[in-house]
């Protein structure tokens, strides 16, 4: 931006005015009065080491200002800004504004990103295979993906979301494999987001999917680069949210939430078995409480006579109807899960001990809850945690309560009703225009084949 000295002064003034009440603003003048270079940056977001090393010291080592200007302009991170507003934004982001005497404004990248090192994945643990996870820095995250997907087809577009937070979001996808329709819809969605602050990837997921009252997650939020890369290769789109540590993968289908990254590492039959176990866990955790109510109160003849007598015997002392019994125990279990999640690590085990030992054993011995109920509740809790993606796990935790309600009112019929409605609902869901409940494996085989044919000529 070429302008006279006067204008440069006014620009500097404008900046000073805008940042007048910020104590972390640093403004320095270099050189003597007629040949002056003004620096302005925010101490809190810019790296002062960079300022010293690359901006201030070279100035005094160079004879002419023109050489110095060229020196600054030659850095890959420096920009000559177009307008004041954008310049201010960059300044707030950690850039250093360098005002030259002739009225040129350069912005020099000295962003100090506080991001931890690449750590091990915490929320999606696997036994073998790559264990590093995304961290809070977008550049690191993009690096993690680029390193694993070395193809010129991998595109990365950036945009920002949030009026105040200006969170950077990178959209990464394989150009040849992505569905352009989905990409278009995503961009429309991103443009439509009207919020002040965006802090987490999961939050973005909420705004993207549109319907506020939807029950199931329609985008995957993951912290595993290998999952992200695998999904890119399947033609999906990755949204990297700066400062988040998680990325969003879309579009998602139901079965994606039951895939752990181990599955690909296992021997084929073992992988199938593990996957089967997860679906079994899903069915169990959703249906067990409802079935217990239906069978104890409406259709005891479904059980074998031995079990029927056992349940009847162990329920003999229980003063409440079965659905209240189930609700009490399930809510207790939810409290226990929440408590052990929120408690600081040092006192975390207390919740487990108190809950597991005292609640479980004492409640049955006091005759408030039947023995069978304790077994069922533990089975429900354990099989819930079999689901590898947390978002889905939380949804499933909620889903079982409607089933209890239906079983209480309609018995076994209610459970069937609930199952039918859940399946209908899942089939009606769309993730960025893609059917949510489709069997992805078949689809994948087909697209891979088309892909290979296209690539081979």
């Amino acid at each position: 931006m070429r302008s006279s000295k006067k204008e440069q002064d006014s620009l500097l003034k404008w900046f000073q005015e805008k940042l007048s009440k910020s104590s972390d603003v640093e403004q320095r003048s270099l050189g003597n009065s007629d040949q002056q270079v003004n620096l302005m940056y925010l101490r809190s977001v810019s790296d002062s080491k960079v300022v010293n090393q690359y901006i201030i010291r070279p100035y005094y080592e160079m004879e002419e200002e023109g050489v110095y200007e060229k020196y600054i302009a030659s850095f890959p991170g420096s920009k000559s800004s177009q307008d004041a507003k954008e310049a201010l934004e960059l300044l707030l982001n950690g850039y250093i504004a360098i005002f030259f005497n002739e009225g040129t404004l350069y912005l020099f990248d000295a962003v100090r990103a506080e991001a931890g090192p690449v750590a091990e994945a915490q929320t999606e643990v696997i036994v073998q295979g790559p264990s590093d996870s995304f961290n809070e820095s977008m550049d690191v995250n993009m690096n993690l993906i680029r390193r694993r997907y070395q193809s010129g087809d991998l595109k990365a577009e950036t945009t920002t979301v949030g009026h105040k937070s200006k969170t950077k979001i990178a959209i990464m996808y394989d150009e040849t494999r992505v569905d352009p329709q989905v990409l278009k819809e995503l961009k429309k969605c991103l443009d439509g987001i009207n919020i002040d602050i965006l802090q987490a990837a999961a939050e973005l997921d909420k705004y993207l999917s549109g319907n506020k009252y939807r029950l199931f997650p329609t985008t995957i939020v993951t912290e595993r680069p290998d999952r992200a890369v695998f999904n890119i290769s399947e033609g999906k789109i990755i949204l990297i949210v700066d400062t988040a540590g998680f990325v969003v993968i879309l579009p998602a289908v139901f079965s994606d939430f039951f895939t752990a990254m181990d599955d690909k590492l296992q021997v084929l039959p073992v992988g199938w078995f593990l996957k089967g176990i997860r679906y079994l866990g899903l069915i169990l955790t959703v249906l067990i409480p409802g079935l217990y109510v239906a069978f104890t109160s409406y259709n005891p003849e479904v059980w074998k006579v031995q079990i029927a007598l056992l349940v009847a015997g162990s329920r003999a002392t229980v003063p409440y109807p079965s659905y209240i019994e189930v609700l009490i125990m399930l809510l207790m279990m939810e409290f226990l899960t929440e408590a052990s999640l929120r408690l600081p690590k040092a006192i975390g085990p207390t919740a487990t001990t108190v809950g597991g030992l005292i609640l479980g054993t004492a409640a049955t011995e006091a005759g408030l809850v039947s023995n069978i109920m304790i077994i069922l509740v533990s089975a429900v809790a354990i099989s819930n945690f079999v689901i590898p993606m947390n978002m889905m796990g939380f949804t499933i935790r909620v889903i079982k309560y409607p089933f209890i309600f239906l079983a209480t009112i309609y018995g076994l019929l209610g459970i069937v009703l609930g199952l039918v409605s859940v399946i209908m609902y899942l089939s009606s869901l769309r993730s960025f225009g893609q059917p949510y409940f489709k069997i992805y494996a078949l689809d994948r085989i087909r697209t891979n084949k088309v892909q290979r044919e296209r690539e081979n000529g």
Partner: protein
């Protein structure tokens, strides 16, 4: 909004469909077995006995409690309604597994109880049926020491889930009983449960029915022959006398099939062909087995078995009952609506039996 209202309305409309009332399992009494006898005082009345399991709180304790209730009445339905006022909890027939007809009652007419069995919605169609001697009440009162769940031992025996005795006829589920009562050309046959002592019963005979009433008893030996003819690979052993010594052979595999042969100008006969492969299970005096001895034994065994089968068949035939379904077989293979039934009746009058048993004793049962 509209959709939500529709959903709620649908749920509301579904309410009457829920079937039973919400009643927890601990407010129900499970009837495990029902016994039906003729009343001693009034032959027109029924004497119904219910065996009710009382749930046990502690599964570790082996002792089991049973309540046995008896009530007299004109019809089963009414009698059971009356019994309901004698208990504190609702009687639940969902787990009812056996119906026993007292011998005296069975010899009169069981059609009324079968009708009740088929109509009552909470009685399953896979209930085991049997005849009880001396009466259903007394058999239900038997408490075997090996029993862990009330009335379970009788179920295990009748279903052959527990013991696999060759002297127990295949399970006569209530739907099978009903089918055999309705079907022309095949008659019901039920196992006979006898009370031996306070804690032991005996099931090794069976009762042949002519549709509505019990006609004749098949002795253990005949019951076993019936099973051999009816089921494949019966697990049993037979004795054989050969050259003055006693042997016993165990059946490895067995198959029986028959043909109804109606030659012109002579009496028709049913030809049974029985194929058995067997191994020696027992022998007297430590004989050395040779291939020749096995051949001789096989031949003798075949002859002796044929005799036994023939005797049993003629007894079944003389009783005029048809538990093996020869009539149905005849109708199915001689299709002629107007005359087939009469043809069979004529033919059945003078029916003969020919039995060809092909016993192959292949193994000696030991390794040398």
């Amino acid at each position: 909004m509209n959709r939500t209202v529709c959903c709620l309305l649908a749920l509301l409309l579904l309410l009457p469909l829920q079937g039973c009332k919400f009643k927890d399992i601990d407010l129900k009494l499970f009837v495990i077995a029902v016994g039906i006898d003729e009343s001693e005082s009034n032959p027109d009345k029924l004497n119904v006995t219910l065996k009710i399991a009382v749930p046990q709180g502690d599964p570790k304790k082996a002792e089991q409690q049973v309540q046995i209730m008896t009530q007299e009445g004109d019809t089963l339905a009414e009698t059971i309604r009356e019994m309901k006022s004698r208990t504190d909890k609702e009687l639940d027939f969902g787990h009812c597994k056996a119906i026993l007809f007292g011998e005296k009652y069975a010899r009169k007419n069981i059609l009324q109880s079968i009708d009740w069995l088929m109509r009552r919605r909470d009685l399953q169609l896979t209930i085991y049926t049997a005849v009880a001697k001396p009466s259903a009440k007394e058999v239900l009162n038997v408490q075997p020491v090996t029993e862990r769940i009330p009335a379970n031992s009788i179920l295990l025996a009748l279903s052959k889930e527990g013991t696999e005795s060759p002297f127990i006829v295949p399970p006569a589920f209530s739907y099978i009983l009903q089918r055999r009562v309705d079907e022309i050309g095949v008659d019901p046959i039920l196992a006979l449960v006898e009370k031996k002592s306070e804690n032991e019963f005996l099931i090794n005979k069976s009762y042949m029915f002519d549709k509505s009433k019990a006609i004749a008893v098949l002795e253990p030996e005949e019951t076993r022959i019936y099973n051999l003819l009816k089921t494949k690979n019966l697990k049993t052993s037979f004795n054989v006398d050969y050259e003055g010594l006693k042997y016993a052979y165990n059946i490895e595999g067995s198959r029986a099939k028959y043909k109804i042969i109606t030659p012109k100008n002579s009496t028709s006969y049913i030809e049974y062909r029985i194929k058995i492969s067997a191994e020696i299970e027992e022998s007297q005096n430590g004989v050395r087995f040779t291939a020749g001895l096995l051949d001789g034994l096989s031949e003798a065994a075949g002859e002796q078995l044929s005799e036994r089968v023939k005797r049993a068949l003629s007894k079944i035939h003389q009783s005029k009952c048809d538990p093996l379904g020869w009539g149905l077989h005849y109708y199915a293979t001689h299709w002629n609506n107007s005359t087939e039934q009469k043809d069979w009746e004529d033919l059945n009058e003078r029916l003969e039996f020919r039995v060809k048993s092909d016993v192959k004793i292949k193994f000696t049962g030991t390794i040398r």
